[in-house]
């Protein structure tokens, strides 16, 4: 389990990117949702030991009383021995092949024996379906192939904690689907944190999710619990595009989307807003948008 207590981070320019974040993340997939600038990447970098938060503690260890617990802030190198990290933007040597790069990373992760490395690298390349292009240089990889390579390097050494930061941004639907299936496979027995602003990625994969905005955890729980809490508060109406401005003034719109040339709007309201709105079953996206709306109101 990964435990964060009152984790805050203030950058030298005074920006408070994280504000007393407290989370307990068990084994399995865990979604971290939030808009750009919410603090997700700062939080991921803090957990991945790339930066030290200015306050708070981060601990990683067995959820039962036995076994070693790592204080991530005091012993970052220890966590790195069991960490897999796929950052949002990772640089690689473009003229090096996938096989050579994975082999290099395996050495740096402590897989010393050449025989063990060979097995590790070959198994991972097959697992992420890059075996056929193992000798191709990384500069020739498509976006989806790069992300799959990224997951392969994150899996070297059978890590117990895997952090995946905005992994499906820029991927086409087929590549995204393939990637998410791969994540689902690996996410059963280890802690996998999926940080994203794409609600569908989280709703498909994660039994627990936290919504981060303005550096704070605004909501946390199982998607079904969060959806249940929003039941009866989400209303929908189909309007003409030209009416949108009026509805924005009169109601707090959660989301708008086009459908067959007309605009479908969702609003958050504890009681019937009238004006032809109908109640609908909330989805995780509605929960997400309503959480953001409430945090903006509170700010």
């Amino acid at each position: 389990m990964l435990t964060l207590r009152d984790v805050s981070h203030v950058y030298p320019n005074g920006t408070r990117a994280l504000d007393h974040v407290t989370l307990s993340i068990p084994r399995g997939m865990y979604g971290l949702l939030g808009p750009n600038g919410a603090g997700k990447s700062t939080l991921m970098r803090a957990i991945a030991t790339l930066q030290t938060p200015t306050e708070g503690t981060i601990r990683f260890g067995p959820s039962t009383g036995s076994g070693e617990v790592i204080d991530v802030i005091r012993e970052p190198e220890k966590l790195r021995r069991t960490l897999g990290y796929l950052p949002q933007d990772f640089g690689v040597y473009p003229r090096v092949s996938a096989y050579e790069m994975l082999d290099h990373m395996a050495v740096l992760k402590g897989v010393a024996s050449p025989a063990d490395r060979k097995v590790t690298v070959e198994t991972l390349l097959q697992q992420v379906n890059l075996w056929s292009v193992r000798k191709k240089t990384l500069s020739g990889f498509s976006g989806g192939m790069r992300q799959r390579f990224g997951i392969a390097q994150a899996l070297i050494g059978n890590p117990e904690l895997i952090i995946v930061d905005e992994p499906t941004a820029g991927l086409d639907p087929e590549e995204r689907n393939r990637f998410l299936n791969l994540l689902a496979e690996i996410g059963e027995n280890v802690v996998v944190i999926l940080s994203t602003h794409i609600v569908a990625d989280v709703s498909d994969l994660c039994p627990r999710v936290a919504v981060l905005a303005d550096g704070r955890v605004q909501r946390e729980g199982a998607p079904q619990e969060l959806i249940h809490a929003a039941r009866g508060r989400i209303w929908m109406k189909v309007i003409e595009r030209g009416e949108l401005a009026r509805y924005r003034e009169q109601h707090e719109l959660l989301s708008t989307r086009l459908f067959a040339g007309r605009t479908v709007v969702h609003v958050l309201s504890d009681r019937d807003p009238g004006d032809g709105f109908t109640p609908i079953d909330a989805g995780l996206e509605d929960v997400y948008f309503s959480t953001l709306a409430e945090s903006r109101r509170a700010a």
Binding site: R74, E77, R81, Y85, Y93, L108, E160
Partner: protein, 244 residues
């Protein structure tokens, strides 16, 4: 998760060897360019020799210090010493990992210098120039020292190119102003000191002539020492800072 498996940290020797290997692999395109350039020079020099020319100009020095100053930029092109980088998530102490990469670059630089020397000796032999005359044209210590300074620049500054271009721009500006003022006032006159004038003359003559052994040892010690000190100071910026 009842028990956690912590894999051992990599051995320091493995890290060094692996950095040498990966830096070599990443420099393959640079190597191709160098081979093409040397092949072209070999052809031109050989053609000049065959047509009765000198072929091999035994005066002047090769600008290897400039090349070695820029060499770290090629090594670190795809890594970000500052900010989030793959390099920093491995279970290796960061300062040591950065220095391992610098060492890896030095290994390839030394190999390149050795091959370049061999090439030059071969050309010199063809042109009838002795080994001493050939080797004296390559400033080996200066080359190593500027490599250390270049690496220190990259590791120590978030925006090294800004500093490089800024400094070069400043020097050009000072040079331009100096030249412009020379006609009316003259920088030497403005500085107003004949002692400075004679001192720069002595410096110029010392620079242009071969040093004695004592001077050479002192110069080597100072330049390499300064380079190493700058590198270690720069690498210290990447030491893990842990909040207690």
């Amino acid at each position: 998760m009842s028990e956690m498996t912590l894999h051992p940290a990599p051995r320091w020797r493995d890290v060094l060897v692996e950095q040498v290997r990966i830096v070599g692999l990443s420099l393959r395109p640079v190597l191709l360019v160098v081979i093409v350039v040397l092949a072209a020079f070999t052809f031109l020099i050989a053609r000049d020799l065959l047509s009765g020319g000198e072929g091999f100009d035994s005066s002047g020095m090769f600008p290897t210090p400039l090349i070695s100053f820029l060499f770290p930029f090629a090594i670190w092109l795809h890594e970000k010493p500052f900010g989030s980088s793959f390099l920093w998530i491995f279970p290796v102490e960061r300062r040591r990992l950065a220095l391992a990469k610098v060492f890896a670059g030095f290994v390839w630089l030394a190999l390149a210098l050795a091959l370049f020397t061999a090439w030059l000796l071969a050309l010199g032999a063809l042109a009838g120039v002795g080994p001493a005359g050939t080797i004296m044209r390559i400033p080996y210590i200066g080359t190593i020292a500027t490599y250390l300074f270049g690496s220190a620049l990259l590791l120590g500054l978030r925006h090294p190119l800004k500093w490089v271009f800024g400094t070069a721009g400043l020097l050009l500006l000072v040079g331009g102003v100096s030249q412009a003022l020379e006609h009316s006032y003259g920088m030497n006159t403005l500085l107003g000191s004949s002692r400075l004038f004679f001192a720069t003359e002595r410096l110029h003559s010392a620079w242009g002539s071969l040093p004695g052994p004592g001077q050479w040892i002192l110069g080597t010690f100072l330049s390499l020492g300064a380079g190493l000190a700058a590198l270690l100071a720069a690498a210290s910026r990447h030491r893990e800072r842990r909040r207690r």
